[in-house]
Every structure is written in C-alpha cells, then in structure tokens.
Subunit: 207 residues, 3 copies
C-alpha cells in the first residue's frame, strides 16, 4: 500500500470513529442504554458511506468489512466510559471537522474510481460526509444539521469539488491534499469565526 492509499485508509477509519462518537453522543443526551449507543454510533458512522455505495451500486463497505462496525462500537463504548465534558465536546467538534473533510474526499474518490461522472462524484462526496449526521438527527427526532445556518454542507461541497477538479488535471495526491484542506479550513472558519453564507434575501413563503 503506497502513501496515498495508506493515508486514505487511515482517514476513512478515523472518520467512521468520529462520526460514530457523535452518534453515541446523541444517545447520551437522552441518557439511553448501551445498545442504543451502539445503534446510533453505527448509523451515524457508516450511514453516509452506505448511501454512497447504494447509489453507485458498489457492495456496501461495512457488509464486506464488518471491522468498520467494530470501530463504531468502540467509539460508542468510549463515549459511555469516558462520558462527556466541556473539553470533550470541543474535541469532538474538531474531530467531526476532520471526519467531514476526510469523507468529502474519500466519498468522491471512491465514486470516481468506479467510473462515476464528475458532477455525480461530487455529490457522493457531499452525501458521504453529511448523510450520517442527517440520519442521526432524523432518528433522534431533532432538526437535522442541514437546517442549521452553520456551514456544514458547504465545506463538504467545496472539498469534493476541489478534489474532483484537481484530480481531473492529473494530480491525484495534490487533489486529496487540497480537497481535504479546503473542506477542513472552511469548517474550521465556521467553528472559530462563525462563518456563514448569506441567507435567502427574498420574502419567505409562510409555513
């Protein structure tokens, strides 16, 4: 395995672990039992990649390699054992930003490798990065992360787009690096400085 492949594999498992932990936190918020911790960790950790694999008709990654599920369960156990605290929440927010950036690139890369067209590959990057969190929120009956004004889809979209564009001009390593850094950078800006995009300026329709 060369350096790029190794980097991608590490990023992939790290993203599953981080998203798994954020799923377990949703269960912790409701003081739920360890089984529900595991369920939410698994759904959040592998949900985005599962949707990507179904859409591009690839075998679902964790069905082939159940060790991804073990990673989710380990993340759930870690949250259960070490609990939650102000510092940990902060840590998780940053780990989540890393996971988001990693998944935006990994998702688009897998799609491109299987011959998916560039625009659809960008969408796969975005879905891989965001859909696990969306599933977590829907199952927890909370307004989804999509509805927050915080930048979340935007960094994923930027990272996946940059990756696909730079890769198209024949620079795969650079594409991974730029895509990852752009997504992480914009997400970091959103966390640190409250960056957001301008909202719809028009008259809003009533509910």
């Amino acid at each position: 395995m060369d350096g790029l492949a190794l980097t991608l594999t590490v990023l992939d498992y790290a993203a599953v672990a981080v998203f798994g932990a954020s799923g377990a936190l949703a269960a912790a918020r409701r003081k739920h039992d360890i089984i529900t911790f595991g369920f939410f960790a698994a759904v959040t950790g592998v949900g985005g990649g599962t949707l990507r694999d179904l859409l591009i008709d690839a075998p679902v990654f964790w069905v082939l390699r159940p060790e991804y599920l073990v990673v989710c369960l380990a993340a759930a156990t870690a949250i259960w054992v070490f609990g939650w605290g102000r510092g940990r929440e902060r840590l998780l927010l940053w780990l989540d930003a890393l996971g988001l950036a990693a998944y935006a690139v990994v998702g688009a890369l897998k799609a491109i490798s299987l011959g998916v067209a560039p625009l659809a590959a960008v969408v796969m990057g975005v879905l891989t990065a965001t859909f696990g969190g969306v599933l977590r929120d829907v199952l927890a009956h909370e307004p989804s992360v999509l509805l927050k004004r915080e930048l979340y889809v935007t960094p994923a979209l930027l990272g996946a787009t940059l990756f696909v564009a730079v890769r198209a001009v024949g620079q795969p390593e650079l594409a991974v690096a730029l895509g990852f850094l752009a997504a992480f950078g914009v997400r970091a800006g959103a966390i640190l400085f409250g960056w957001r995009m301008p909202g719809f300026p028009g008259r809003a329709p009533p509910d």
Copy 2:
C-alpha cells in the same frame, strides 16, 4: 425517439424541475443559503426516482445522467433569484400536480419495462411520485405530506394503477394519457374543491 418516448422524457425532466423547486422553497421558508437551496432541490427532485431505481435494482438515473442534477440546481437558482409570491405559490402548486401525475406514470413505466410485476410497478409509480416530497419534509423536520388529509398519494396510486392496467391490455399510448390525466385530474380536484377521502370512522387509538 418517437412521440411517446419524447413526451415521457419531457415529462421526466419537467417533474424533476418542479419537485426541485418545491425543495428549494422549503429552504427559502427558513431563509437558508444557496447551498442548502441546492441540497433540498436535489433531494426532492430526484429522491423518488432514486428510491425506485434502488428497489428495482436499476442504475440510479441521475448517477448515469448528472444533467438531472443540473436541472435541480437550475430550479433552486430560479427560486433564489425570482423569490416567492402569492402568484408563484399558486403556480408551483399546479406544477407540482403536473409533476406528481408525470412521475406516477414514468415511475410505473420504468418498472414495467424492466420486468417488474404489475402490483410492484404500481408501487414504484406511487413512490416515484411521492417520496421526494416525503424526504423533503423529513429533512426539513416538518410533518410529511403523507400526514395531510389532502389527496396526494391517492392520485398517484390511481394514475399508476390505470397506466399499468391499460398497458396490460396492449394500449401503451392510451395508458400514458389516461394514467397522467387521472392522476392530474384527481389532484386538481383536491386543489380546487378540497376533495378528500373519508377518514377512519372507528375509534382512534391514543398516542
């Protein structure tokens, strides 16, 4: 491409555009940014057909032809630029009725063409026509269109059933026309005259 195929293609793109616009309106209601407009437009525009393709094990249509995504993004941009108004809401309601009728027929037709049994093909028509809107509502954390007493699933079911039945007796063009008109007609009756089906007459279970 003969007349029938051309008609179906036009209906197909038109339905994606219309549902895409209704997704963007959900983002507009929350004064969200342009990226979220695009996300909701895409999910609503292609969600129903995506579920159909996954269920009948066909390649997902917009992964093969990303121009469907472009149509969704154009619809999102149009809502962003031209905004919302009383007249436009009315227009969209009618366009949505056209999209519903088109998708009920197109969804069932694709399933039948791939050898799916008649009853399952009817279900594909209904899911193609309604699931994009359901996804939009679930992601927007709103009660889904399924829960309104307004006729929405019913016209799709009627159109898809008529299409499958008339096609079974060897009249494909007539089947498209009747299925489309029946679905559109019943939906129009619901919009104009508040048609609805009788509700459950029995004692309701408590929550």
Copy 3:
C-alpha cells in the same frame, strides 16, 4: 419444503402482517383515509426487509413477490374494518413481539445464506426487525421507537446474535428456535415487567 423452511416462511409472512397492522394503527391514530392506511402498512410491513435486501445486494423481496404487499394491504383493511380497542392494542403488542423475534432470525438467516459475514448478518437481523417501525415513526413525525427506553433493539440483537452463534456450530434448527425464543422472551419481559437496560450513568451533554 421441509419443516424448518415452512416454519420460516410462516414466520416471515406473519411478521409482515403484524408490522403492517402496526403501520395502519399509526394512520388510524390520525383518523386518516384508507389509502394512507395502506401506505403506512406497506412501509412498516416491508421496510426492514427492504433495507436488509438493499444492503446485502439481494433482489428486494416484495418486488419479486408482490404477495407480501397484499398481506400488508389485508392487514390495513383489517385494522380499518375491525377498528381499535383496548384488547386489540394488547393483542397487537404481543403480535409485534412475535414479529420482532421472527424478523431478527429471518433477517440474519437470509444474510448468512447469502454469504454475509457473521457480525454483518447480526446487524441485518436487527435492521430487519426494527427498521420498519423506525420508518413508520419517522414518516408519522413521531419520536422513533429507538428513543423509548423500552427494550426493543436489545431483544432483536440478542436473538440475531444467538441465532448466528448457534448456527455457526452447526445446529441450524436449534439456532432458529433459540434465537426466536430469546428475542421473544426478552421482549415479553419488557412488556410484562418493564425490563430495561441501565441508562448512561455519565453527565448528559446539553442539547
């Protein structure tokens, strides 16, 4: 068809009918029309097995055999006609426990038969048993069954795990019996005695 296969087929249809009925009850709660009864019955009845089939890349069972849909529609009609009552709710609760236990085993069995790894097969059992109810609650805009503290995922997990473990040591009939009884027994304990798992003992993160 030998005794085991016959038992499994009966359990399979019975589970679809029972979950279908619980979907129709969600429509009854809102005094909805017969079409919505059928829609919720179908989504709840076949939702779990559909997700399983998509994940393990098997043809979706009810697309191949639409008689499963007929079973759902029959269940919806039965709820419509016979209505709801204190005794019936109790009956349904127990039928649901039977369905949960049946699906945990049937779901894991189908996955194992298609060569899925043990850990992933356990997950398929759990998803088959629980996802129909989750979909029902999400579409009905209610907090999902996952969020109740009642044991629901736990019996499915126990049953699927026992089934996979006992089958691995070469006892397929015993595996079905033990898996089913363990899942049903724990669910029965939850219903009768309010059994639950200990909740997260740590400090809960704020919303």
